[in-house]
Symmetry: none
Subunit: 198 residues, 4 copies
DNA sequence: AATGAATGAGGGTTCATTCAT
DNA sequence: GATGAATGAACCCTCATTCAT
């Protein structure tokens, strides 16, 4: 036959790949835009495609969302892993926190928007992200860069959730992000006196 | 009031008032319960009423949710206002933060669940809450109880959003809440040296 | 309250019962009419109801079809059971065969139209029907009314399937039905000589 | 022919003919396999072709199915015509009945699966088959091989439909087929006494 | 006035057909 | 000419709102 046949494996036809990317980008764009309802029709229009096409490209709406969010979280996870390799544990944590906020501020991925959807990949990647943040924190504690009177797990949740919230805030701004990191890092610094009584 | 078919100024029928309260309580209960879908039918069943009754009592589903959330935020707002009258500005802020977290942890009002709904009263009351928190922070800064190198607006958002996130976290616990307040207050304490360079 | 409240149990509101019946009748009518596609919309229109209503009345389209077919098979099953109680086993079988054909000729329930649908009640009732026919045949064989050189199970399938087909035939008529029963009963009569060599 | 872009009377390209055959074989195979859904995609995969190719080869899905079923019925029709030429009318009828059952049992062509499809050729060929069976029966009646107190048309439908049903039965087996033919031929034998009163 | 039921708009998904490679 | 992908129509189902009891 005269079919190009391509290399055996994943790579499908050029336009299929292109449209898959278009759908993915559209989903990511809409995930970044606050207040969107994430209907298949909306994503399709954003991508300049038909509704059935985006479903076909991923099999199901959930799978598309899953892929989009996972995709968005990818670079962030990579940055977290790079931070783990940096020399100064305290500076690494501080630096990553800023990235975390800035990234999420630019993307607006709402946990709640995913409620009721089947997004196994996203769940997985979130766990990875959380684990890496946990490691970053533990390393900073071991190095004496941050206080040790809090359990690493507590600190992980605290930083993760708070950073997430700050990023998503309507008033999000570089100034806010910087303020958050400053306060957090100051608050996490080894304290001279005993902590305040609860 | 503009209630149809009712004599002006005349109190509504006793059972109408009672049903309105039942619906409101049901909505509040479901808002407190994580993972609920907030369908009219669900609320009605929880209230022991018919679906039509619930809608009729508020005219629309959105109005009911609006009233319920506003209602839930009421005591919190009152507490914030009481904190403003306390003597020690720092302690008042710290105390309110804990209340804020505990309250939200117990009520699970998700901003995102309200996305796409018309909830003007809720928006209003949230602004009031935010303003009062802003005042609490300004007062603490004026009294030298917390650092002044951050704009009060920034600090307001920071505390409000972060507290909200901590409360909503799946791993939410008293230990986490206490840790959050400790770190925040330590971080917000007037700092001896210059803040970390950005 | 002044709610009628009715008797505790199944009986719901009068119109609900009425509409449930309308939907059921509509489905039965369409099952009787050859060449129909059995769309929810079609059934609803036939019933003079909205599409959502007929779904709500049964929870799902499949459940509606299931109920309709089961309903149609009910009287037939009852007749088979009555035939079992008759005195003359041969006449009972012959009589039931005629009923089987006439009934099915009037209803046009196609196994294949149900393909891919979840109809557990129908499956059950069909098995009952088949079992009762099996008993009718066994009894006739035991009484010497029909030949015994065929396994009852074979005869059951033979009569059941053939009667079914005759009933569904486009040229279906009383004459055809009578002819079928005559031939079958004659063919099933105990044969004087050995059966034809295959 | 009206094939577009082809010189009149010119044979089509070799691979086009080959693909048409592949599609036809695939459809026939799937028609023989019970419980298949007969989607274009499924047929194409079975043929090792693309979906568009299958459609293009026949213009429409219905045309493909029509051709496939017609093709399947071809040999059966030829066998019926050969039976007409045999010496013993009774044996010819009996022989053909067995073939009819075996053939259909092996092919699983469901009338109902064709419901809603435009299959004019199939309809035509079915009529031919029915007519030939009618002739077989008339000839057997004329020869005194089978009873004459039934109208040939009635007997035709009776045998045709019943044989079809027996073939399609889930419990289909050689034993069942043989039993059917035995009973039918015994029942059709010229009867000594008057037929049973209806 | 209260309510169970009816409904119409809208969602996701499938599939025969058409298009572009 | 063959084909994988695109698509729009159609289907079943959900739910906030309206109706009739």
């Amino acid at each position: 036959m005269s079919t190009p046949k391509a290399v055996e494996g994943q790579p499908r036809r050029a336009d299929a790949v292109r449209n898959r990317r278009l759908a993915l980008e559209a989903a990511k764009t809409l995930l970044a835009r606050p207040g969107t309802t994430l209907k298949v029709e909306t994503i399709a229009r954003q991508a300049g495609l038909g509704a059935a096409t985006v479903v076909r490209a991923f099999g199901t709406k959930d799978a598309l969302i899953d892929a989009a969010v996972t995709d968005l979280l990818g670079p962030l996870l990579r940055r977290a892993q790079e931070a783990l390799a940096e020399d100064d544990p305290g500076a690494a944590l501080r630096g990553f926190l800023l990235e975390l906020i800035n990234f999420q501020a630019a993307h607006w991925i709402m946990s709640e928007q995913l409620e009721g959807l089947q997004v196994p990949l996203t769940t997985l990647r979130r766990a990875e992200l959380r684990n890496t943040l946990h490691d970053l924190i533990s390393r900073a504690q071991d190095a004496g860069a941050i206080r040790a009177d809090l359990h690493p797990a507590v600190t992980t949740v605290l930083l993760g959730e708070a950073a997430y919230a700050i990023a998503r805030s309507n008033e999000s701004s570089p100034e806010l992000a910087a303020g958050f990191v400053t306060v957090m890092m100051d608050g996490l610094r080894p304290q001279p006196s005993a902590p305040h009584a609860p």
